[in-house]
């Protein structure tokens, strides 16, 4: 169950970014997890509320985008979809392939709420720049 450890790492990252953005509440977190990353998205989603409890990410909606495994063949120079247990070239069957997608373990985006900028800092360069 290394998903709990990954969740902890995710939360640390989310906190850092949320603080940078002066967010008060993180509402949504989007990940991209490839099957070759060795991490199960479903387990991660189950573990997340345990780790996020009591933090500014509590209650945030965690979603994971699927990522298909794709390879590029060094022999026939074509790209195509492959499976987790067979990474051979889908065109020529060769094994000189390189995985070009499917091993990602990425934090894609965050959504959050921010308290409106105080009038005491009207010239703050970040003030509300990305919030309507």
């Amino acid at each position: 169950m290394h998903e709990l450890a990954i969740c902890q790492a995710l939360l640390d990252q989310v906190r850092l970014l949320a603080n940078r953005e002066q967010a008060t509440q993180v509402t949504a977190i989007r990940l991209r997890i490839g099957p070759l990353s060795g991490v199960e998205a479903a387990l991660l989603i189950n573990a997340f509320p345990l780790v996020a409890a009591g933090t500014l990410a509590e209650g945030a909606e965690l979603t994971c985008d699927d990522a298909a495994v794709q390879v590029r063949c060094r022999d026939c120079r074509q790209e195509g979809e492959a499976s987790l247990s067979c990474l051979l070239c889908p065109h020529c069957g060769g094994f000189h392939t390189q995985v070009i997608a499917g091993d990602e373990l990425l934090l894609v985006s965050l959504e959050f709420e921010r308290t409106p900028a105080k009038s005491a800092h009207p010239s703050h360069p970040r003030s509300d720049a990305h919030v309507r």
Binding site: Q13, T27, L31, D65, Q70, E79, I100, A101, V108, S109
Partner: protein, 266 residues
Amino acid sequence: MCDSCGCNLTTGNRHLVETGGALAVTADGHGSIEVLQGLLEANDRQAHHNREHFDEYRVLAVNLMSSPGSGKTRLLEATIQALREEFRIAVIEGDLETENDAERIRRAGVQAVQITTGTACHLDAHLVHRALHELPLAGLDLLFIENVGNLVCPASFDLGQHHNVTLLSVTEGDDKPQKYPVIFRASELILVTKMDLLPYLEDFEVERVRRSVRALACEVEVLALSAKTGEGMDPWLAWLRAACQAQRARTVGQKPSFQPHHHAET
């Protein structure tokens, strides 16, 4: 993979940045940012730091991974016995509980640091870094990190090692590489162990392990050996000698390139 030059953008995820842009605002008035950072960034940073330690002291670090009971400690005992006069060796042992493996290694005559992970199923770069501070790196040539026995979780965590070596014992089945593609794909050498038991097994073929590895588009070498009888040990020892030599050649004139901090010297 890094987060500054864009090399973690693949054909599979590029559209995420292209359509959304680096910053976006959602319709309901909440703030939103695109991040595209690796989830294990903190671990990877620490692993990079560990690797700097190893290179500073010109130590070769080898991470041994396998399922529980495939003979990692037994292989280390035989390896230490064979190479003790040639290289200064130490071992970091990862286990959920007990100091048993570290004690076996110490009986083989080299220094061992035991990391007990409690319930954690893998070593990470921070745990290894803590153990490094208990080792006299300046007096070592070769450091083995024996990971927690597990074919799933250790594969996701870089420890700062130079090489991953994965063991597969003949009693486990020859299709393991395709069942656990993540760990075998991350390996630079695969060792089929307990070859002395092969005569008792009807359905294990080393050649099928090689085919299973090839199906993962993996070009790494598969060596078959028995630490118990010594059969097949020579190619493994030769691989280690070559890797040690390459590390020494790579780090000629290596100067400390980062903030010095204390390491125990014994």
